[in-house]
Amino acid sequence: MSTALIEPRTVETPNYLNAEYGWKSWLFTKDHKRIAILYIISITVMFFLGGVFAGLIRFELLTPQGDLVNSDTYNKFFTMHGVIMVFFFLIPSIPATLGNFFVPMMIGAKDLAFPRINLLSWYIYVVGALFALTAVVMGGVDTGWTFYTPFSSTFSNTFVITAACGVFISGFSSILTGLNFIVTVHKMRAPGMTWGRLPLFVWANYATSLIQVLGTPVVAITLALVGLERAFHIGIFDPAIGGDPILFQHMFWFYSHPAVYIMILPGMGVISELVACFSRKAVFGYSFVAASSIGIAVIGFLVWGHHMFVTGMSMYASLYFSLLSMLVAVPSAIKVFNWTATLYRSSISYATPMLYAFGFIGLFTIGGLTGLFLATLATDVHLTDTYFVVAHFHYVMVGGMVMAYMGGMHFWWPKMTGKMYPEGWAKFSALLVFVGFNLTFFPQFAAGYLGQPRRYHAYAPEFQVYNVLSTAGATVLAVGYIIPFIYFMWSLKYGEPAGDNPYKATGLEWKTSSPPPTYNFETPPIVTEEAYAYAGHGAKEGDVV
């Protein structure tokens, strides 16, 4: 990908891609846009690797007997799938790529506040990923991505320390990205870019950054303690000397529940941009959507206990966490309703990014509502650790987050590369993703309520019908992901020149050339209007809000 990008072609206006050539100009770049491209390449690699593991899992589960691979191998498959997808794809996905590229542009800055730290965070990510890949190559990890003690600390015979190191290290990449965004949004906004004018994508990334900065260190120290416990054969979670494995779960989920919001919030930000652009209308209830991002970030820290209702945690703690988990659904609901309301009396285009946005709204609604089953005490007792949970979080992570990522990639591809993707193929693959996704994961809700536990290599025969459907869907889904990869590559060379603003979108990133120049703007922008002022400069300040 990078080689294609750096090839000199026709005479172009100076931009960040043709400013310098050669691998050094990429590996030592401090341009946030180039770093974003580096991130896109690396997370794409990780995504397809994680996807391969997903495919292997699905093919194993085609039959109930567990006859494709043995159980150890299967356990490593789902662990590596989880570790790679969560820590090396979903967490960095939107913030480190689209966020890295567009947050500075959207606020009218020349770069992030700390360009060198930005590059450093990419290197840290790569080192972390290399650790994870080393664990894969050496023979894999079989603890599940949750690393529950005492299995991970004492009983597993696999490369837990290597994998935990990878997660620990990549955590710092995530922290540094968050740190950079927070400072950038506070200190680097262009004149006139008040908080009330920030695009909602920036708000969402800001909220995400708060979680990254406040949550990640806790999981880092927790995994460090597990690693130390394994290395020294003694530690603080070992029940044999009075340690409490449930404490590990508290500390793990203190981060890992909010981490879900690290994954979904930037996706919500993308959807706000898409909905506004392709309906040519300011997002309904801007301040509520913005505030709900911050709300999710804060309340997200108060609900982790709903992962632990059956662990023997105190009943009253369960009560507390269940109640607050209901609360966190409110800001998510606000967003969905506001996006839908934005469509009212608007001018809707069916461009590919908008199709992904439609898909997101629907699938995220399902994902969010099924989350309530897992926040409610009695139903969670039955459903936790079954395929219902698997279906639920894939609806949020894949149906939500990956849909948003794909939508965002299509939306900003012309800006990033100066080329259009082929619209027909793009629409077709958006449809494939939607259909394939639902076929893959909807049956899992049923299998879950029926009682199929997750992380099972072999399962009772009555669950087979759902698993066959699911595997069939996964095949469609895989095709739906490979097609965009191909046509994106193709468009780099053969795509139509995009022009500066192919969608007639508002937002500072569209006011500069495509691809943008090295310091983003020829003249520094001065902001005089609200975000999404599609009706022109005369747009009044919020009527009600």
Binding site: L327, S347, L377, A460
Partner: protein, 334 residues
């Protein structure tokens, strides 16, 4: 082919969980349909008809925002309320529940009955009688999951967990380990057989048992040399254990502790952790790593049986637990 939708509902809890599930599913379907319908309707009605079309901006509505925050939250509170009711109803077993002891071990369930029967990956229970499971783990975290009962509880090493159910329908139901526990996690499955009362009595009678759990515990009590110090009729070098279970024990640091299953377990594994007032540390060897969880449970059951004023070894009637009132206060040291 028949496509199953719901697992059997075979416990008193199951129908309630199902009602709640259907209620929540209905809300989910309604909400999702509304959102999908609105999106589709708007997408078609307000599709872009010309490239220069600029719709009038609508900035928002405070009333709407409040409505769609508060109303869903109230609906969610009903979920919370019903869910919590069922959850708390399942919190503590009724006092007449019969005891069954379960040990999770990589990768099997070991089950023992107070009457002494032992099984692996099979649990037999009578219909219509509350059953209390005491769960222990030999190694990692497991989770005892019976979909037909809609119940599950993690089995955490280093402690006793309990769960209880009341089966309503005879039959054979899946037993799964729901918490990932290593290589053969998916092989850690078994069956719960719910039988009518006479069938169950019949099964009990015909399943060989080397004595009741109390007797097995008593045997271990001798084997490990416990009885040489813990004498039951007079005060030996160590505390007399008669009547200890269920009482509050005075410790040497001035605190008291309730002598429950967990306390007895800890005192066997790590006798120095909580020392009875008037005794020295290091009198008793630590049995950490020397007794299996099953053996521990037998010892606990044996010591429990000593709480009731009966000769040691006599079978406690199934389901009778030492009622707290019958224990002498501070029955440790006389």
């Amino acid at each position: 082919m028949q496509i199953p939708l719901l697992p059997e509902a075979a416990s008193t809890t199951a129908p309630y969980v199902d009602y709640l599930y259907w209620y929540m599913s209905a809300v989910t379907v309604i909400m999702t349909t509304l959102i999908f319908a609105a999106v589709f309707f708007f997408a078609i009605k307000y599709r872009r008809r010309s490239e220069d079309e600029i719709p009038q901006p609508i900035h928002g509505s405070l009333k709407l925002e409040i409505a769609w925050s508060v109303i869903p939250f109230l609906v969610m509170l009903t979920f919370f309320w019903f869910g919590a009711q069922i959850y708390f109803a399942n919190a503590s077993p009724p006092s007449d529940a019969m005891d069954v002891y379960v040990v999770g071990k990589q990768w099997m369930w070991k089950i023992q009955y107070p009457e002494g029967q032992r099984e692996i990956n099979e649990l037999h229970v009578p219909v219509g009688r509350p059953v209390k499971l005491t769960l222990a783990s030999e190694d990692v975290i497991h989770s005892f999951f019976v979909p037909a009962f809609r119940l599950k509880h993690d089995v955490v090493p280093g402690r006793y967990d309990t769960m209880w159910f009341n089966a309503t329908k005879p039959g054979r139901y899946h037993l799964f380990c729901a918490e990932y526990c290593g290589t053969e996690h998916s092989g850690m499955v078994g069956w719960v057989t719910v039988m009518s009362e006479p069938d169950y009595e019949n099964w009990l009678a015909n399943s060989g048992a080397e004595g009741t759990m109390v007797q097995q515990g008593e045997r271990l009590f001798g084997q490990f040399g416990c009885s040489s110090c813990h004498q039951l009729d007079q005060q030996g070098r160590c505390p007399n254990l008669r009547g200890v279970y269920g009482s509050r024990v005075q410790l040497n640091d001035g605190k008291t502790v309730l002598a429950d299953d967990a306390y007895i377990r800890e005192s066997i594994l790590n006798p120095n952790a909580k020392i009875v007032a008037g005794y020295k540390s290091d009198l008793m060897p630590a049995f950490q790593g020397q007794i299996s969880e099953e053996g521990l449970l037998q010892l606990v059951v044996y010591i429990k049986s000593l709480a009731i004023n009966k000769a040691p070894g006599e079978v406690a009637a199934p389901g009778t637990q030492p009622a707290r009132e019958r224990i002498l206060p501070n029955g440790v040291k006389k």
